[in-house]
Symmetry: C7
Subunit: 275 residues, 7 copies
């Protein structure tokens, strides 16, 4: 055939084109096989994980969608690259050319990936849930929203904290089971320890009837011999979230009972030597 006055041998062209076409078809078949298998595997893995961790179905849906999306984009990207290579358009220089810029981006974007990886596990392992009271990454408050990149925590003073997930190095979750109520109360060195403990035990018996207490409270004895007072400790387990309220009630009750029983809660002491 003559194109632009140049002689092109069709058979030769075919000898080049056919294998390329065959390769592309092979690639498409491979893709048609691998893609649905991959998706199935992701679904099944998440189902298993969700069964083990009895996570809420809603969240599992989100994670599944995210993972399948990521998988699909990766598969399509790879397919395109391989077809381009099969056609003979060199993809190498493109990638090499993107190298230096890419490296800079990789370093910059590394935080983003880190955010998502951590966010994924925080969601999967249910370390945080909305309305949990947590301490993490230096922030303290109630979780308002958990995203793949950022978690929002509302501090008790009303501040809304945006925490990129990568800074969540460990989570102290204060909304998982009963909490401890603890009161340390100092009595004078001149008081009878046994009598003070007896008074504390009477108070504790009252509070043990309180529904908010799941265990105790109990007076467990002399915690320390301070510079001016003998410190006694009362400890109990309360329903989650009520520990501060219970401690406040305990403190008030102990103070009033000690006043009634004339047990002194001493001020700091100092011995003066006159010269």
């Amino acid at each position: 055939m003559d194109i632009l006055g140049m002689n092109i041998d069709l058979a030769e062209v075919a000898g080049v084109v056919v294998p390329v076409v065959v390769q592309i078809i092979l690639l498409l078949i491979l893709y048609a096989i691998v893609a649905p298998i991959g998706k199935k595997l992701i679904e099944r893995a998440l189902n298993k994980a969700s069964a083990r961790q009895n996570a809420s179905p809603g969240r599992m849906k989100t994670l599944e969608k995210l993972l399948i999306n990521l998988f699909s984009y990766a598969m399509i990207f790879i397919l395109i690259v391989m077809i381009l290579t099969a056609i003979g358009i060199e993809i190498g220089p493109l990638i090499a050319g993107a190298g230096v810029v890419g490296l800079a981006i990789a370093f910059g974007a590394q935080g983003l990936v880190s955010d998502i990886v951590t966010g994924f596990f925080v969601l999967l392992e249910r370390q945080l849930e909305v309305d949990d009271y947590v301490t993490t990454a230096g922030y303290d408050g109630v979780v308002e929203e958990i995203g793949l990149r950022t978690t929002k925590i509302r501090s008790f003073d009303g501040t809304l904290n945006y925490v990129p997930n990568r800074y969540i190095e460990g989570v102290a979750n204060h909304s998982r089971g009963n909490m401890r109520a603890m009161v340390d109360i100092g009595i004078s060195y001149d008081e009878d320890i046994d009598q003070a403990i007896k008074v504390l035990e009477t108070i504790c018996m009252e509070f043990q009837l309180d529904e908010r207490f799941k265990d105790g409270p109990n007076a467990i004895g002399v915690q320390s011999l301070g510079t001016s007072d003998v410190v006694l400790r009362v400890v109990g387990q309360t329903e989650n979230g009520l520990q501060f309220e219970c401690e406040r009630d305990l403190k008030k009750r102990i103070k009033e009972e000690f006043d009634k029983q004339k047990i002194e809660i001493p001020y700091p002491h100092q011995v003066l030597v006159q010269k």
Copy 2:
């Protein structure tokens, strides 16, 4: 054909030139297809994100423009590199040669990329907005300007702080919803706690009528048994930005009422033992 006395076979030349031209045309077609699709995808993704986060249209415009610019530059760069390769000008050594220098630049510029990536998400997720009162990266103040690289925060003492976005590791935004007003007030160990709380509750009832308070304030009881005083706590929710003013008014009111009711706010105590 004879050029400079050398014999050049035109057919041979054509055999070299034609496939190159074909490749270039293919590349241009590919570019003409991919470029507008990419732009459309960016627009649609941002529209979706903006719908979900109900961001202001102005900001979304900025982000869209930025992303499309970046995408266009990348596409053109890749196009040029691939055409050069197709022509046969080796682009490899250029890139290899740029390697060592490039690595150094990559490390140096990594901060810049980090700034932009963080800035992008800070804008997209509306972590900061102009006139928000925030604490971030060790600075505390009102946001004056948010850029892709730098954010300007005006401290309350008048200082203008320039914060490269990469140092924004977490944002504590004090302008998102109601804020807490909290007053801790110590009374003498000799006072009747119940009476003091009753006085506090009377004051709280007055302030509950105050429009600035959205919730409370309430006297919630004995916060701690201090070395010289019994500390009572009053807590409420105020309109955003008025918390400090409300606390100041509460403090003044409590002090004056306690004076009137002869409830002692004690100085530090010390017991002296003479020797």
Copy 3:
């Protein structure tokens, strides 16, 4: 043979196809040999390690399963890559193309790998076991669950802490053998040290009969000459977990005996010079 009007030489095709088939068969044979050997080696290595560390069979099972899974996935991945190469589908660009993205992921996922590597050794070396009281990564409490990625520690105040294993830089395990009970008690500078020690020794002799004490307690002498008191130290070894209880009992007993023997536990002293 004529396909689509093109002349294809079967012999030539065979000359290309046969070596590929041979290579694939060789690879499959190699795989069939290497895979079970690898599994056996892993089993045997773990059995040896478990024998040496007398770990519980349950945990060893878990580790074995994990390692064999990892090994199998790796083998299958390699097999596929090599078969694809043998067929002639270039796998290179795929991998090169994945390079930049891969690097970012590698950096992001590095924490995950770190978690698993540390988790593996924490399990293998039994640094932590469920119900151990430990201090690690800034958290203090009782281990509730040890996973390959995350360890859950329950603080004494009821908080549940999720600790990614990579942050476990060192483990202080308080549930390994006897614990020390130690009481430092200050007496007045005016008291006779010898007499005070004698009293302490009498108390110690009582407690030495206590089953909770495995060794001691003993009064070991003058620990320091403080600003206002001479500090004496009593030290003993108790059964694991009972150290705090024993210390409380010791403190109460010493305080009461010193009161009875009229040995003064002094308040802070200050000499006043009048001017």
Copy 4:
């Protein structure tokens, strides 16, 4: 042709030489086109940026010169590398050989690049200007000179601090707009708060006439209930740089007026309980 008794075919030589010459010419043409376009683009970009930031023309000149220099060196370097490759002198080993040494240098020089990148943006965004009073990188003082690598800051004690730009992580610039003058003054618990505030307001009204104050000062109420005093706060906005002077004058005035009005500024209090 016979050289050193060897037979060299001129036509063959020409067949090798001609394409090389053609390539070199193409490269030179490309260079002649790209170089001035690049320079123009840099100029225009800077002009735009300068217009947006209304930077001083002098500084813009400096930045323009720097960027064009960098661009020219890069272009010439690339040109040489590509011509050498075209000639057939392998440049690869050179670069590979420079690899190990280069890596070490890259790591070492990375700081230098970081300095320049940061310096560039500090200049462009006018974060610092000569004679600004700033706090950055742990240094506090007046900027004496801003360079691309190092910034010189004169501390108030006379020390000259050399700060490599990469350590400028954020800039607190105290020379941008009005500054706050703030005085916290404690009054006795026995004083009438209302009367004290009235006195403060009278003083504030005097100062409001002072030209140095741009806003206020105003007495804003009870800042805190201290251990020994009720703390009142006075706040105003002064002209930049005069805030310390204004605070000093305010303090002196308040102290003298309180003396005249017999309002007590109390010493620390302590309640003594004799035993």
Copy 5:
């Protein structure tokens, strides 16, 4: 020869097979030569090192075994890779494919390698030995076990600390030679320094006869002029491990002697100015 109807030229096959066989044989010979030489070298190097550091033969055996194992595994791995290459099975894609995963693992496993390298030198240089009392990596106690990956340190309170070797940044070993016993004792500003030192010297002379002291103790003079006392220092060298016991005895003796000699150990002083 005809296989599957295809004509295979045996001579051609031989031309391919023979060099491969030759290469493999060469590789095996090389291996047979290099492997035992390498082992010998390791043995000799360790023998030399052990002679220089007079390490216990038991430990040297352990290190030798470890190093020879590592060396053998490496040699066999290399042998396999090279034989596969010689056969013509491309090993390249396998390794490239393992690249991204490998990088992540490398980063994750880097801690493990660091542990072993540090552990190796800690063992070789005998920085730690079982039963040594050491301070390292923030832990303080007696070494219970030294492993290649983890070191176990028993704190004095009974806690068992597991320290990954990489965190051992420096070792403070308190079980290497004599230890210092030091007592700082404050006397009143009104006392005669010379007389107090004379008394201390008398006490020191008594203790110099004590077998536990290897050098001193001696009274070395006025260490500081404190706010309320003149501090004198007594210093001596004791047998390793007895320093705390000796200090306790010294303190008791000095206190009693000063009481007898009526040398005042003063309480904190304060001058009161009445107003």
Copy 6:
């Protein structure tokens, strides 16, 4: 030609040898051109820099020698590598083989390069000079020697500090221009501030005549209202190095004048409430 019974075609050999020789000659010519040009450029660049910074010629000589040495070594290394490649000795494996070892060295030596790069700029920008009193890298003292790798700083207590240059993150140079002398003096709350300031101004006028003072000193007013005193501040500029001496003289003079004028410098105050 027959060598060892083998037939070697001289012409063929020549066809291989000649282009190699030509290449080598080309390389040598290139080297002969580039080397002196590079040296000239270095010299000129340094001359310019030295002119701008008016550095001492001695130092510039050192820097020039260092840079030219580095340049020469690099050129010769590149020349050798390229000639070896031209000859056909593959240099690739050598470099690849050096890769792993090289990487480890690169990481290790990176500190060394960092030292030299920092050292270079410290010298060039004259941040430090011998006999300057500086604070840098946590050390404080007088510079004794500045090297390319290490700087020696003599502390005032006589210690000689060796500081690797890479730890010089910023230099606070106390030997660049006048220094501030500042005295804060507290007067009693009962004193007349105006009178005290008048006394201070009289003293300042005396010192203004002192040659050591370049500016001031002046009494600038009430610095703060302390817990027990009103703090007044005196500030002036002295000749470099005399600031401490001047402060000492000022303090002595003020104390003596206040004594004469009966202005009280008060001790800490405390109000005692008896109960």
Copy 7:
């Protein structure tokens, strides 16, 4: 020639073998030239360095041996790699295969290299010498041994510290020249400063005759006006190592002289206001 029934053309074999042999011979010649030159260069460089730093010949011998060993191993390694390549045994896969493992090792071993590089310079620059009293890497004591990897420092309390050289970030060497003896002494606000300084000068004159003092001591005036005392400073230079002894003697002498002269060294003062 017929081997195993296959026809091998000797001439062809020769055509392959001869250039290989020639290459190997060339490589050996090159090695024979480069190796001794390299050794000579190392020797000469060290001799020069040692001359400049007048280091002890013993140490220089050690460094020389180390460097020549390193150089020899590197040369032999390179020689083997190049010969293997010349023979045609592909060394590439070996190195690629070692890549992933190598990277992990490189990261792990990087600390070791860092240790040796730092150790090398610490030895060369004589920053530390055995028996020097130094502060480095958080340890304080006398150097007992300096190794290429680890330095041993004996603390004054007897502890032996093993410090890996890489943690030596800066060395404060207290054994280089005279040391400062400094005494700060507080006198009462009621004392005559001039008289006190005169007394101090008399004491200083006595000590100036003391051989241990190389310069001073001198009374340099009023260091600060403390809360309860006027602090005077005495400063001098003593022989290295005697500074603590001299300070002790000075303190004792001053205290006794002030007692004799009735100059009061005051206790902390407090003004009491009775209410």
